[in-house]
């Protein structure tokens, strides 16, 4: 049997009537972390939005294990096993940590398992999410999605604005998840850490996939990376 995969085939996406992503093709395999690198405004978040169905696809296809899901609503894609952790830590501020976690339709066990990854969340379970620190909010949004046991996770800049220690923890958790079979598409601005835990890397510039390479090769040759930014 083929390994489960999420295939994005030549998709083009618009935002504010501007082409933000053009003819992008990439594959995410189960059990691996795939990294999407690129400067600000290159179209990384837009691409994730397109894969999750948050914005319509202008052209091209999104395939989940061979089934076309291009026209599905975000809700349907979520239920089909695509978990999307958006940029900007979208916690529900008025709800407590516990309530935030109770939103997902999963067993107590799954929620507990997700909490074990981030012990800090258990300590603050009755605090309203609006009062959490940035790191705690990031842990919460990750835990919420992890509790749904998605087959694939799209994660947008989880390290954004966080202290190095928290970033280390988050990267470790992502590594752990991929080892247990989840396919992860990780968008990062800070390249090195992402490369260290990932298998493959795509580089996107001005809305186009410019490079597709094994992550370890890029790590060995940092100059090739500098090119992506400079």
């Amino acid at each position: 049997m083929m390994r489960p995969s999420l295939n994005i085939e030549k998709i083009t996406l618009y935002r504010n009537n501007l082409t933000v992503c053009e003819d992008a093709t990439l594959t995410v395999h189960a059990g691996e972390i795939t990294v999407l690198l690129g400067p600000n405004g290159a179209g990384k978040s837009t691409l994730l939005d397109g894969i999750a169905g948050v914005i319509p696809t202008h052209n091209g296809r999104v395939m989940l294990n061979g089934e076309e899901i291009t026209k599905w609503t975000p809700f349907r894609r979520t239920n089909a096993g695509i978990g999307y952790v958006q940029q900007g830590r979208t916690v529900f501020k008025e709800l407590t940590v516990r309530e935030n976690l109770s939103l997902v339709d999963s067993s107590k066990n799954d929620v507990e398992e997700a909490l074990e990854l981030f012990p800090r969340l258990t300590e603050i379970r009755n605090t309203k999410a609006g009062f959490l620190s940035g790191g705690e909010q990031q842990m919460l949004v990750l835990a919420r999605t992890i509790a749904m046991k998605p087959k694939f996770m799209l994660i947008d800049e989880p390290s954004y604005g966080l202290a190095p220690k928290v970033v280390t923890l988050i990267m470790r958790v992502l590594k752990q998840l991929s080892e247990s079979g989840t396919g992860i598409l990780l968008v990062e601005q800070y390249a090195k850490r992402a490369l260290e835990i990932s298998k493959n890397t795509y580089v996107i510039q001005k809305g186009k996939i410019k490079l597709s390479e094994a992550s370890n090769l890029l790590l060995e040759n940092p100059d090739s990376l500098k090119f992506t930014y400079f």
Binding site: T73, T78, N79, G83, Q86, F92, L95, E99, T145
Partner: protein
């Protein structure tokens, strides 16, 4: 004076309940529904028409409430189906076209003259000190309080309530957690439509409304909503009752009595100017 204030409280309970349904709909679905009063009026007038035709009061009331719920559901379906990506202003204009259509329909069905409505709740009087109070007043205020308490408890202490709060913060983020926002939105439309019919039944016997005037209860209800900054349902509830009470009191003040219907506008104007005084710029896009 006190008796007019109490009479005002009955109408105020209508403002409060419609106000709460306006605010919740706005929070959950992002629609400011100018036709919410008309939806309730349609339910209440259908109920009264059935009573006039000899139907038992209980059945007629129930049918009226269900009709308003279905009407709300239908309006909600139209908005979610055709206008999911529209701006809040376009959606508000759509509810205005719905209001025009409902007012036309109501006029066709029920005419435009004020009607005497029988009490849905048996009316008896009792004295508290020197003040004469009717059961209608007690039921109206009591029901308003019960509705607000139940909704608060539901939102605060149930998982479904949490889902609604999540949805009010972001539909997309809620969908990405597997919450069926479409189903929840439509249920809210259904339930809040039913609530507005209840408001109609409570108010009608005191207010002797025409279909149009009952529909335009949405204006004082909006004033109550504005007082609660379209968020806090406790302030909306209290605000609605207070506006009713002030109007009731105004009925006894000579220079004011004829014009007390302008009070909601003044409240809307002053409150919004105050709330938005620091909002120098429009939203960032």
């Amino acid at each position: 004076m006190i008796e007019s204030i109490i009479a005002g409280l009955i109408v105020g309970s209508g403002y409060a309940i419609i106000g709460v349904s306006l605010v919740l709909l706005n929070r959950f679905t992002g629609v400011l529904n100018f036709s919410q009063g008309a939806i309730g009026a349609m339910g209440a007038f259908t109920g009264y028409a059935l009573i006039a035709m000899g139907a038992p009061i209980f059945i007629a009331t129930l049918v009226g409430i269900v009709i308003a719920g279905l009407l709300g559901f239908f309006v909600g379906w139209v908005l979610t189906h055709f206008f999911a990506d529209s701006t809040t202003t376009v959606r508000a204009v759509i509810t205005i076209t719905v209001l025009i259509a409902l007012l036309t329909l109501g006029f066709r069905l029920f005419g435009d003259s004020p009607m005497l409505m029988p009490d849905v709740i048996p009316k008896t009087f009792f004295d508290v000190g020197s003040v004469r109070v009717s059961t209608t007043t007690v039921v109206a205020i009591g029901l308003t309080a019960v509705i607000s308490v139940c909704i608060s408890l539901f939102l605060k202490h149930s998982t479904l309530g949490s889902k609604y709060i999540a949805m009010s913060e972001s539909h997309i983020a809620a969908q990405l957690l597997g919450i069926n926002t479409l189903l929840l939105s439509l249920s809210a439309w259904l339930f809040l439509g039913m609530l507005s019919a209840i408001a109609g039944f409570l108010v009608a016997p005191t207010y002797n409304p025409s279909f149009a005037s009952l529909s335009l209860l949405v204006v004082p209800a909006l004033a109550a909503g504005v007082l609660g900054a379209f968020k806090n349902i406790w302030v909306v509830t209290t605000g609605g009752l207070l506006i009713g009470a002030v109007e009731g009191a105004g009925a006894r003040i000579n220079w004011l009595s004829e014009y007390r219907g302008m009070i909601p506008f003044i409240i809307i104007l002053i409150t919004l100017i105050w709330i938005r005084r620091k909002q120098v710029w429009d939203a960032v896009r």
